[in-house]
Symmetry: C2
Subunit: 435 residues, 2 copies
């Protein structure tokens, strides 16, 4: 093996610039090194916690974010602490509608398929698990992710600009889901010719339900019973959840118990509550359920701190409800220059995609942002561009006013800027232009 | 949408044969259906367990298997309960060497790189997390997986044939790992020309260490700090683990603290303890560290029960330490006929691969088995074929005798047969030929 000094010089020249970092590392050799006694524990019996399950280290304290007062019960995922594309099931975000999740005994649970079908069917869980199954890594994202918390807190000086990636963007997560294609169950039930939609309903007290177009259902919707290898966690819909890849999060019906095949969209309580908006051209966007392309840098991100100048890998997540991420660009100078980030393989359809970008921080103020493009060519917009789509003037006056504006934050996928100060503090820079 | 009776007839003809199953489902409609009150809970505050983390349902009780008396502290992964390819970090198998895992404070942990390098380096965790990283979905498998437990229990009539997929094959798991390529760290340290191996060492009391060829290290070895999106769980090596994809499990050094670059393999305590075997031709296989292709049907599998005849999806996992799974074949008639199973995309290098195969159980006795082939064309062997490789006659006398034979169960990747009895009970059928 040849690894010569010349190799090393070339590596440094090519921009990874580890020099400052490595110098810091060398200095720490005089401190507590790996040969110290730290980390050793006396041999003893393995505690029960480590026999049946692998516990977290007690030094790891990443948790979800509780909803603030006035918000509904969304527990936000700590995106800034995550690596790769799989969200641990422990930390998957939950929009819980302020309630204790149902405590369903799986042996008693049933899935009913009825309505415009030749043969209504009822399935037990064990029956579903005998059927042909699929596994897919898919994201779920709440319809107002990236908007609601900022809108609600921007008038609070103690919070403004102090938001984290979890605060702003934490209503999305990505898991490997396993279950039965709903198309297969409907094929068994025999869908009648006049059918064009379904209504899917959960078992929770409020009977959360959504209308879903039949063409989407026959394309890629899954009746899922597993998440990241094991049963779906209770707050995520145990024992059955409807996966509707790329649609607004509330379509992914938890505690799924009923699918009715119908001939038109029904206005369920959720459907009518906050999804009707007029665009400037007078058209409605109500039937636009697909979440648009979005990306966010998760490290460095809000409330993190860079300890010293030198090399940092910028990393983050990109996704699109409409397909596969094809490109992520990163700017470190406030949007003047953009360069392609590296996408981590495998890049999967309607899944979080990890991107990485090498950066050498010179110690000056910097604004970091990412912009993604999906395989349909749709590009993540600026705030001004999104304003045109929705007919909203997203200026400072807009953000200051907490009252309703007609736009409720749906599909808010604007480019997220993070400002790195000379002190190394990272702040949400969305409002900087107006402050 | 057209889904006519004729479509349905075609579907049934094509072999999914849900008829018996669906009839059973219809009958259950008269019992407790989805409209019953089951699963509803009164609205109340969300308990803390559901705020910060998503807990399992109390009805889910899949756990790892404790080691039996005389075994070292391996906690086996319940493969028969898993779906997809991601093993939940909770349930990743652990070969713990009978000890309490180190309780390492991450701020005090260091990674030392020294030996035949121009510039020894010490890294803190925060320094490592600034460097260019990769995420890879990789399996880990213990060198004696699929052999040791069977060999130790075959003389016990109460256990013989009653083993589960977890009992026999549970020393493998698959996670998404994130960290820094070790090649990058060694490039920074500047490897000297005479270097050809490394020795990697953990921080636990026994100082587990292994010698690893430098060409493997420069190819795909990762210094990992994350597992399935979050910090590596404590028993799996928190805060740092060396990922050596496809090599025997014990090469994946947990609680990694030191990498020494050397000019030859060093015989560490682990290296010398049980890895020297002569083949019939007098050659040693000691330097064959790569785990061979293996597959196992996980459903139906040992100790499961089929409640009724009719359609079942046969599913399982295949993997190869040498590359990517290209083919899995399934036989349901004891090996006379084989048909290709479907592989779940994405099929990844040195990762568990989920396969699926439709099967209509006619109620008679059946023997189910799977056989995989990797992208180098290596095929999973029969017991007789593996015996030739290792120079071992795996007859009944061999299994009965608990004493040492010279072969210690390394790389035991023979085809696993499961017998389905007329009662629907599934048994390990490995010894049937001799009983």
């Amino acid at each position: 093996m040849n690894s010569k000094q010349s190799d090393r010089r070339r590596f440094l020249k090519e921009g990874a610039v580890l020099a400052g970092l490595a110098a810091g590392a060398i200095r720490s050799a005089s401190g507590q090194g790996p040969m110290s006694a730290s980390g050793r524990t006396p041999e003893s019996e393995i505690p029960e916690n480590f026999r049946f399950f692998n516990e977290r280290s007690r030094f790891e304290n990443s948790v979800r974010k509780l909803p603030s007062a006035g918000e509904s019960g969304a527990s936000k995922c700590p995106l800034q602490d995550l690596h790769g594309i799989i969200t641990p099931s422990d930390l998957h975000f939950v929009a819980a509608y302020g309630m204790n999740p149902p405590d369903i005994a799986p042996r008693e649970h049933r899935l009913l398929i009825h309505g415009l079908v030749h043969r209504p069917l009822i399935f037990t869980l064990e029956e579903l698990k005998r059927l042909p199954s699929v596994s897919r890594i898919h994201l779920i994202e709440c319809v107002t992710n990236s908007y609601m918390f900022r809108k609600r807190t921007v008038h609070l000086p103690e919070l403004r600009n102090r938001l984290t990636a979890r605060d702003i963007h934490g209503n999305t997560s990505c898991s490997e889901w396993t279950g039965v294609p709903l198309s297969l169950l409907l094929q068994e039930a025999g869908v009648k010719n006049e059918a064009s939609w379904i209504v899917a309903e959960g078992a929770e007290p409020v009977k959360h339900a959504r209308s879903i177009p039949l063409n989407k259902v026959m394309d890629d919707v899954i009746v899922a019973y597993a998440q990241n290898g094991e049963a779906i966690r209770r707050p995520n819909g145990y024992p059955l959840k409807l996966l509707v890849p790329g649609f607004e999060g509330a379509f992914n019906i938890k505690w799924l118990r009923r699918i009715k095949v119908v001939d038109q969209p029904y206005l369920t309580n959720v459907d009518v509550s906050h999804k009707v908006n007029l665009r400037p051209d007078g058209k409605m966007r109500w039937y636009n359920f697909e979440m648009p392309p979005k990306s966010v840098i998760t490290r460095p991100s809000g409330e993190q701190r860079l300890p010293s100048r030198g090399f940092y890998e910028i990393t983050g997540l990109a996704w699109s409800g409409g397909g596969t991420i094809r490109r992520v660009e990163v700017s470190t100078d406030g949007g003047r220059n953009w360069k392609d980030a590296q996408l981590q393989e495998p890049v999967l359809r309607i899944a979080h995609t990890r991107f990485r970008f090498p950066w050498n921080w010179d110690g000056g103020e910097a604004v970091l942002q990412s912009r993604c493009t999906d395989d349909r060519g749709v590009v993540q917009p600026t705030l001004a561009e999104l304003g045109k789509i929705w007919g909203v003037n997203f200026d400072w006056e807009y953000w200051k006013i907490a009252s309703e504006t007609g736009y409720n934050g749906e599909h808010f996928n604007v480019i997220q800027p993070w400002k790195v100060t000379r002190e190394g503090t990272v702040l949400d820079a969305m409002y900087d232009a107006w402050l």
